[in-house]
Symmetry: C2
Subunit: 135 residues, 2 copies
DNA sequence: CTGAACCTTAAAGTATACTATAAGCTGTAT
DNA sequence: ATACAGCTTATAGTATACTTTAAGGTTCAG
């Protein structure tokens, strides 16, 4: 399988595949006589693993860590479990931060709906007031 | 007020203030005889407005939009309200995406706790299985 | 044999929001 | 007088995850 076929099979771009190789997320593939990269199904599986791991919010560098941990002879399960815990904590923090933002925005929007004309827009005025309070 | 005082007053870095100016988030200040930037309290208020707007999750480019809308003679309240609605939708989408991720991660972690040894780590194996399913 | 499709590399560009650096001028305290 | 803080500009670096471009070699159908 050459890089184009692998790209089609996995839905990744050719350049992305080379980029992942440069980050050592994919092993260096063997080359044919013209210097073209030649892949097997393991490479496709690895690429899908990366996709799936990205979809659960892992960064490329976290994915590399995961691959490094799990590609050795053993998976070092305990290490991976604690990795998952850390990540879960991150995600929960992000959610709670966004919920704070959601509340602030929906309060502001509520003000917009209840009062306000072009000369006294509560959205802007409240933001400005908050600034003054913080000062 | 020179740039350093403004920075101290608002908790922003001097470079950040110049950067915001280059993005037209801050008006070009007048200069003293040595070419130094000279600010007044309006500039400080604007800077705090930016900080507060950032804290509710707005990007610098959204903040510029908001400033452009609201700095004219009138605030154009209706426009701002619909801006807030769009942003609220964004934030809610982000939250729900993160909640999906949270569930996936916590399921995976649950598997790690219930079973698994170094040779068969459920976290990795499940990610791999998911890849195969998607293939 | 020519053109299209495919491959190679290295380097630069994109987006966001700064942060740091270099080289040099200004203002003030001692 | 000189050290030091503070100001100026332009440019480059940081982090993440690609995407694009340039310049060129390979493979295959017609």
């Amino acid at each position: 399988m050459k890089i184009g076929q692998l790209a089609r099979k996995t839905g990744a771009e050719r350049q992305t595949i080379r980029y992942y190789e440069s980050l050592r997320l994919l092993d260096e593939p063997r080359r044919n006589s013209s210097g073209y990269r030649v892949y097997d199904d393991d490479a496709a599986r690895r690429l899908m693993f990366i996709k799936r791991a990205k979809s659960i919010g892992l960064t490329l560098s976290e994915i590399r860590t995961l691959i490094e941990i799990s590609v050795g002879k053993a998976n070092r399960c305990e290490e991976i479990r604690s990795f998952a815990e850390d990540k879960l904590r991150d995600v929960r923090e992000k959610i709670s931060h966004l919920q704070t933002i959601e509340k602030a925005l929906s309060d502001l929007k509520g003000l917009c709906e209840s009062s306000g004309d072009d000369l006294h827009c509560p959205f802007i005025e409240t933001l400005l007031d908050d600034c003054i309070k913080e000062n």
